[in-house]
């Protein structure tokens, strides 16, 4: 099953690269949703040679991930884009080709780190999961730092969480189900709160440019 894992992780890496270069918000949301699909299916690839108790856990994780990352998040973000009066483009603060090149450097870093790590599960340590996960984390951070509108920062946050989740799957054997689901719930609440905030920013200010929110005032001058 390692080939399937590798192929889906390669898809994750490529989607992250495309995400760095994407210009339209709706397109970015779609990319994150496909990532969610790949990650939701990821636990199933290792299910054949797991014992029964782990199998149930893997099914639960897969189902919860698919609902939240492939269903709820995209639906929420799409709603914000549709209802908001704002721009439908991401507003990067560095040029997109520069972001892509930085992404390639981050990719090298991710492979280097995964090379240095000693993992409890050597069978999965050979696969692409760890570098892909770390690359997801770096991409998410890069997106949060280099994008100016609130919604693209939320997308960056989801990409970051996707990376964390991929790394977490390697430890599914040792970590209890409750932790996995707890993380998922945390992220869900975070994105939910961010979604509500962005929605309100959108409605009250006609924009969601976080650069313009640095000055806090009670009343307009």
């Amino acid at each position: 099953m390692n080939e399937l894992i590798d192929f889906s992780m390669m898809g994750l890496i490529l989607l992250n690269l495309v995400l760095l270069g994407a210009t339209r918000l709706i397109h970015s949301v779609r990319l994150v949703a496909i990532q969610g699909l790949l990650l939701g299916l990821l636990p199933l690839w290792g299910i054949a040679d797991a014992e029964t108790s782990l199998q149930v856990r893997l099914y639960a994780i897969s189902l919860a991930t698919l609902t939240v990352k492939c269903g709820l998040f995209p639906w929420m973000m799409r709603r914000i884009i549709r209802e908001g009066p704002t721009h439908r483009e991401v507003k990067p603060s560095i040029a997109l080709p520069t972001a892509l090149l930085t992404g390639i450097i981050a990719l090298a870093l991710a492979f280097w780190i995964s090379h240095k790590l000693i993992l409890p599960n050597p069978r999965l340590a050979d696969t692409l999961i760890i570098p892909a996960g770390f690359f997801g984390i770096f991409t998410g951070l890069l997106l949060i730092v280099t994008r100016r509108t609130a919604l693209s920062q939320v997308i960056g946050y989801v990409a970051l969480e996707n990376g964390i989740y991929a790394v977490g799957v390697v430890f599914a054997h040792d970590a209890p189900l409750l932790i996995e689901l707890g993380i998922l719930l945390d992220v869900f609440v975070a994105v939910f709160v961010m979604g509500v905030t962005v929605f309100h920013i959108n409605r009250d200010f006609d924009h969601m440019d976080t650069d313009r929110m640095t000055e806090l005032r009670d009343s307009p001058p």
Partner: protein, 308 residues
């Protein structure tokens, strides 16, 4: 067999020289099928070449001999590259360790000749096309080198002739993700090197969007025939590289089955290009560098995958 080998090696070369204009014909047929037209015959490029050769050439008085040297030298460099491209299990007529760097350099030389012959006309319009061509080439060449480097890592050799024979079926599956990545990168390189849609439209005559077509506007008659033929050779070279990559698992089966597979793969590549041209629109000029960097990223990722 050993005595026959030098003769056998020449056959794919001659075949390429004869059959290269078929690929643009096939692509146009696929595009016509998508559009619901009958389309020009598959042999159309042969007719065009034959017609152009019989015509005389007209040169502007501002031009020098570089204008007529450009098409000839770019055709010669494409022909030279062909000498280094193997045909499945058959090694190329010329091969040495490191010939893949020479292949990229020769492709660059061919482009350079086209560019300076465009600049030689003194037309600012053609210079604009030349500038765009060079701008994109500056990104294409490193990407292509990275992709070929990943190939070299895969086959543990720096010679194109031994790379594709070093991938028996079991290793082909093990390298699966890397091969897919190299395939994607090579397809992007093929499209940009041959000025196909998303990067450049071979049919366009809209001034602001032309890249390659604008550079050859001043060439007439036999010179234009040389350019068209050289372009079809270049297309054949890149398509053959792709075909070799995806039929590498059959390289041990013998020359004849591998040849049939490669011919099928070449047809599929033509179909793929035709499909891409039919279902996608041209990219905005500012988006092109991103896709080229993406092709380079595919090469780097494949390199990482292989050297884990």
């Amino acid at each position: 067999m050993n005595l026959l080998l030098p003769v056998l090696k020449i056959i794919p070369l001659l075949g390429a020289l004869l059959a290269a204009p078929l690929i643009p014909g096939l692509i146009n047929k696929v595009k016509a099928a998508f559009a619901g037209r009958r389309g020009p015959p598959v042999l159309q490029l042969y007719f065009d070449l034959f017609k152009l050769i019989q015509r005389g050439a007209v040169f502007s008085r501002t031009t020098t001999s570089i204008l007529s040297a450009g098409p000839l030298l770019s055709l010669v460099s494409a022909g030279f590259v062909l000498l280094f491209i193997p045909w499945g299990p058959l090694p190329a007529p010329l091969a040495f360790e490191g010939d893949l760097v020479l292949v990229v350099a020769l492709l660059g030389l061919g482009r350079f000749m086209t560019v300076i012959s465009a600049l030689d006309t003194g037309s600012s319009f053609e210079a604009m096309g030349a500038s765009r061509e060079v701008q994109f080439a500056a990104l294409t060449e490193p990407s292509l080198l990275l992709i070929l480097l990943a190939l070299a890592r895969m086959g543990n050799s720096l010679s194109l002739s031994t790379i594709f024979t070093a991938l028996p079926p079991d290793q082909f599956v093990a390298c699966g993700p890397a091969i897919l990545l190299v395939g994607i990168g090579l397809t992007i390189a093929l499209l940009v090197e041959n000025c196909r849609i998303p990067f450049d439209d071979p049919n366009t005559h809209l001034e602001l969007t032309m890249i390659h077509e604008v550079m050859v506007l001043d060439h007439t008659g036999p010179d234009l025939a040389l350019i068209l033929y050289g372009a079809s050779l270049k297309l054949w070279i890149m398509a053959l590289l792709l075909a070799n990559l995806f039929t590498a698992w059959a390289a041990q089966a013998g020359v004849l089955p591998a040849s049939v597979l490669i011919l099928v793969a070449l047809g599929l590549v033509a179909g793929l290009i035709g499909t891409i041209e039919s279902i996608t629109a041209r990219l905005r000029l500012v988006k092109i560098p991103q896709l080229l960097i993406g092709a380079g990223a595919c090469g780097i990722l494949a390199l990482f995958l292989l050297s884990r």
